[in-house]
Symmetry: C2
Subunit: 265 residues, 2 copies
């Protein structure tokens, strides 16, 4: 039986109820197309798309959009040469791009958080799960510094950003992926769950880290590790690719990562 893009979309969305305003959609390509190969990725960059085409894959499942805005609008990019080149590459290469963002965050448990915690080897440290975060309980002796080094080693990244004291001991920790690093999510968690440390992807600089700064100035034991949006979410897409490969054994399914988008100078 030929597997079409629609078969894969149906599989990805079978057990979730997407919000009415979901960003999940087939951004390019046609649902009836027969799938020759799947590339799963965090960000469908120019490089990822080129690589998929070279390898004969005609479906990219991406967590983020190809055109630099969450809602995949393109009108504002009409004359932009980078957008034009990328759009032509996609068209000429015959690559379909399906955005899998809201669905995977609605898996039970959240497929992105699950992938990160698994990649960090912390699944057995989960105390409990909330929709927006995994709450972890660490043994004695873990410090912010040691946790940062473990994250860098596990994810193969060069740096993380920290607010608070690197020498602080951490027992109660929450992991929040992607753009869940803002104060409206992290600050109630820090207080209600009596957390020592928040590990998050990305968030406004004037919210969570400034709260941590004030908490430390007040003598409280609080810290934050901001590890990067992609760095916090790519592992979840890798886990998804492994599951798709099991569900569709007749299809070549590969995960493809990217270098961190920023380096520090």
């Amino acid at each position: 039986m030929n597997i079409t893009i629609q078969h894969i979309i149906d599989h990805l969305t079978a057990k979730v109820e997407l919000p009415k305003t979901t960003v999940d959609q087939l951004i390019t390509g046609s649902p009836n197309q027969t799938v020759t190969g799947v590339f799963v990725t965090f960000m469908p960059t120019q490089h990822v798309i080129e690589h998929a085409i070279q390898r004969g894959a005609n479906l990219i499942i991406a967590h983020e959009p190809p055109f630099y805005n969450h809602h995949s609008h393109t009108d504002w990019l009409a004359d932009d040469p980078v957008y034009e080149n990328k759009r032509k590459l996609i068209e000429n290469g015959g690559v379909a791009i399906y955005r899998c963002h809201d669905a995977i965050h609605r898996f039970q448990p959240d497929g992105i958080t699950e992938g990160l915690v698994q990649a960090l080897g912390w699944s057995s440290s989960i105390a409990y799960r909330k929709p927006e975060a995994d709450l972890l309980s660490f043994p004695e002796g873990m410090t912010v510094q040691l946790i940062a080094e473990h994250i860098k080693r596990s994810l193969g990244i060069e740096y993380v950003r920290v607010a608070g004291d690197p020498k602080m001991v951490c027992r109660r920790v929450a992991v929040l992926v992607g753009f869940r690093g803002n104060g409206n999510l992290t600050i109630p968690l820090l207080h209600q769950e009596e957390l020592d440390l928040i590990i998050a992807g990305e968030g406004f600089e004037w919210e969570t880290p400034e709260y941590i700064r004030d908490a430390v100035q007040q003598g409280k034991q609080k810290a934050l590790l901001m590890i990067g949006h992609a760095e916090s979410e790519a592992s979840g897409m890798k886990l998804l690719s492994e599951r798709l490969a099991t569900t569709f054994p007749e299809l070549p399914v590969h995960f493809i990562g990217e270098q961190p988008v920023y380096q520090v100078l």
Copy 2:
């Protein structure tokens, strides 16, 4: 004559039309209070407030809010101990906090951008000014790496984040402060102004740096230096403090900075 808080607010807002939804407001204190001393700052942190009280200043003029959200809402923080401690410190210390955000961005030219470009010693390199950015023209031989080192040295910061090639030569550069680092502002600028480099404060990780990554993969000469929200805006508040000291010579007016909220590990 006694100078009241209202006198200073009137001075700050005399030449600008604030939007109806402005965040600029007297967050604590009373407009009729006589001012004993002014601390000007980017972020009214616990430490800044403690320091102002110790020095006998009863007015803090801050660019950002004290309570970890842009609109200075506090209902969601009702039981939070860090918020409670900070609120009591402000009350007991009798410190008024005035938020000067929208006004200074509406100065002609934008007082925050002006302060940053001045602090970087680049005022004579300004080709022209747009409301959201200063456009600079650099002499031959400036690279992303050299510019990054200059910024770090000038602002006294430990690191900046870069997307693109550090060795790339830059002639046409735009400087955007604060949260103006998003794609809706930077991407049209990059294209229309034929820029090599964007220098910005903060922005979504999935927008501008991903555009730069794709542009580079397409063989284009584009780069981004993200220097941090506070790092891009504090100099503008320092410039404001110098101007206030000149306007109100009878008042002690001081600028107070903070350490960068993040360090890299």
